[in-house]
Amino acid sequence: MEDFFTNNSVCVSVEAPAENLVQEIAYDGQEVFQLPLTLSENLTKQAHKIDWIIREDDENDDDTLSATVTTEKDVEEESKKADFQTSSWPWDSVRNKLRSALTEVCVLADVLVIAKDKRYMVLDPVQQEQPDQRQLAQLFSKKRGLTAAANILLHGAERLKISQSDTARAKSNQDFHLELLRLRQSWTLKKIGNSILGDLSYKSAGSRFYQTGIFEVTKSEDPNLGLSTETTSENQPKQSMIKVTIPTELGGTSYIQVTIQKDQDILCTTNLNLLHTSLIHSDHSLDANPWTSKLEAAQNVLFCKELFSQLAREAVQLQAAIPHMVVGNQITASLFPGIQLSIHFQSSYSAGVNKRQLVSNSTSLVAKVDHNYILEHSLHQLLRQVHLNNVGQPVPHPSSAPLGPTKRRRLAGPHAYDRDELLLMTKNESILEQIIRQGQHVVLRLRTMFVIDSIAREIRDPLIISHWNVLNSPTLSCVKIIIMTHGYDTLQRTALVVHVGEKTLKCVCRDGRVLHMSYEPQELRDLILCQISQHQINAVQSLARFLGWHVASSSAHLGLGPVEPLGNASSCILSSPSGNRILSVRCGPQAAQPQVYLSTYPRHDTVKNKVLKDMRWEQLNTRYEEVRLEKIEGRNFLSRMELLMASLTCRPPMSWE
């Protein structure tokens, strides 16, 4: 069989199938053929099969390259020859194109080689000009991006701010409540509806004044103000979270001025101002709470108003010998003839500020020294006492007894009080009466002081020492006057006590006598002068005894000699130890110095007398002769008397001339 095949070999030609490729077979078995390729399509199909890259990889060697190209071309040509045998040189245009492409590729390769070396050529990027449109768009986009970022930042900032203000508000609320708590600790507050009202009147303390002292507490509007002031200075008070609104009639400041006038001369003045004292005392609390000062000022205004209206009402009601006058904001009452007590109510709203300056200036000149706080304190006390009496009702005992009556009224029935006692019980001394009494006492005390001081200044020889009691009542004070001689204070002291009342003086002398005197200062002056003269005589007697002299006689009220304008002169007669010298001392209240007379014996003229031969007639005293004390050395009367008596004692009787 093999042979057969070998022998009968058939030539098989390999060629492309004549028929076209089946593209698809329909369901009924019909075949759809592809259209036969055109020449150009076939060429491109073939050309796709050529691997151009392989050829380019081997381009280092031109020969090989060209060889391969030629071989390739040959292959192509052969294949093309086989395909397109009809064209005489149909690949001519293709070859030309390939060649030119090759040339370009070679040039490119050379250029790359050179460029790779970087010895001869450097490749630089070419600056391409940006188009304007593109820049603008970039700008827009950048802008958009920035605005978006800014929005985010702003949003975040807003949120931070909100949260911060929230905490600030919460903090301020907390501060407000804390401060309200502090306010509540010292002032009466209550909540009515949505508002917080406080009461600064003295009603809870017993005041029955018609005017209400209601103030409103609100939250301060501007909390940032406090922060700013806090940073600026620490001295400034911190802005409060609480705003206090007081009624307008309680605004400003007011005070009550008490003046004692004598024919337009101001003897004594007192300014009653609660605020002033409170400012001094409570500085620290003021710093902490700014509303304190405002409320205290308003309370002060209210207090002054109440006090003045009370005084004015009493001034009208009181039936005085000289009627009290109430004119405008002034009450005038007479204390003594020619001396008036005037009470001014002045407030910063009634244009009294300038006047106040004037008054305070004049008083600072006239009566700065005389300023005392007693009247001020009394006015405080008196109204507060009234308040206290209003509040402090006595408690009934036993517990079933009705509320209200005092203990004395309870006792009135069982003890069968009569009408006078009951009337006495109803008598209630008003504030004005009490302040008038105190004013009278102030005047009388000032007068007494003046009298004692002026006498002490005028009379130097016996020293006059006055001791004022520190503790005294508003209407009674006490002074102890001691009269003594310097250097002889253990020898003789004359003491007297003067009780200064409201209209009268009571003087208790050392011997137990009690003298009542009127408010006229001359009476006290006369008394002290009399006491001085008696003191001198008593002191001389004590000195005489001390020196061994005898007191022959003494009289506090001498009926001899010139009549004294007031009181009586006092005198004593002293005789020396041997009896031959007799001193007579006379001291009148008006005399500046005591008068001293000396008498001696034996008489010089008895020697010539032939009639009286008896020796005893020589014992008669001679006439009294006045001793000129001012010629004797010594700092005061007693020292001179001591010197005189000593000299009279030691000298022999005959040698004295």
Binding site: V391, H397, P398, S399, A401, L411, P414
Partner: protein, 227 residues
């Protein structure tokens, strides 16, 4: 002639005063009790509410004797005989104060909406020999007791919080024996008749003391019928 007119004019004045209703002879009263253990709480509450808080509460220690006078009408049965009670009270801690003779009328409970008990009340201060005087009049001592406690004041109102002690046989204040383990709380106000508005004032104050103490209108007749 003039001496004869004086007592007449005094009586006229008294009657005219009575007519014009200026004599406080009506007592508005609420009562309650608080047990000893919680008395201190009520005490603090009263101190806070009442006047004169700064001076502190006033204590009292009273001795009360109740005298009865039998109005012996010849034809009446013992039930019809009305006994007439008079109370004499003295302050043991303040012997210098006068004794008080007190007449209390029958308490009027009134309607349901009337806030307080209302009773007429006459107080007279007198000397210690009032006991002798009443005995001479034919009064017989019914009972006596000692009250010890605190007295508060709120405006016109009087609040007492007291403990009742039985009078010992020795009649000395030292031998005291407490009747109960609680305090009697009384809220009273004396006013002239016709001033019923004050009853509301009392009611408001009594409300403020709730629930520490319930001050109510106490009906004695019902209490007596229970016992």
């Amino acid at each position: 002639m003039a001496s004869n007119q004086n007592p007449i004019s005094a009586i006229d004045m008294l009657t005219s005063a009575l007519r014009s209703n200026i004599i406080p002879n009506q007592e508005y009263l609420l009562q309650g009790s608080v047990i000893d253990s919680s008395a201190e709480v009520l005490h603090n509450r009263l101190r806070g509410l009442c006047d004169a808080a700064e001076t502190g509460p006033e204590t009292f220690h009273d001795h009360e004797m109740c005298f009865s006078l039998k109005a012996s009408s010849p034809g009446g049965t013992p039930q019809q005989q009305q006994s007439f009670l008079l109370r004499v009270r003295r302050a043991l801690d303040h012997p210098e104060y006068p004794w008080q003779l007190r007449y209390l009328g029958q308490p009027e409970l009134g309607e349901k909406n009337q806030p307080t008990v209302l009773r007429s009340c006459i107080d007279i201060a007198c000397t210690p020999n009032v006991v002798e005087f009443l005995s001479e009049l034919g009064c017989r001592i019914e009972f006596e007791y000692v009250l010890k406690g605190y007295l508060f004041r709120k405006g016109r109102m009087k609040v007492t919080m007291s403990k009742i002690f039985r009078m010992g046989q020795a009649k000395s204040p030292d031998s005291l024996e407490a009747m109960t383990g609680s305090y009697l709380v009384e809220l009273s106000l004396l006013a002239p008749s016709g001033q019923d508005a004050v009853a509301d004032e009392i009611k408001v104050f009594a409300e403020q003391l709730r629930p520490l103490v319930h001050l109510e209108k106490i009906d004695y007749r019902r209490l007596q019928s229970y016992s």
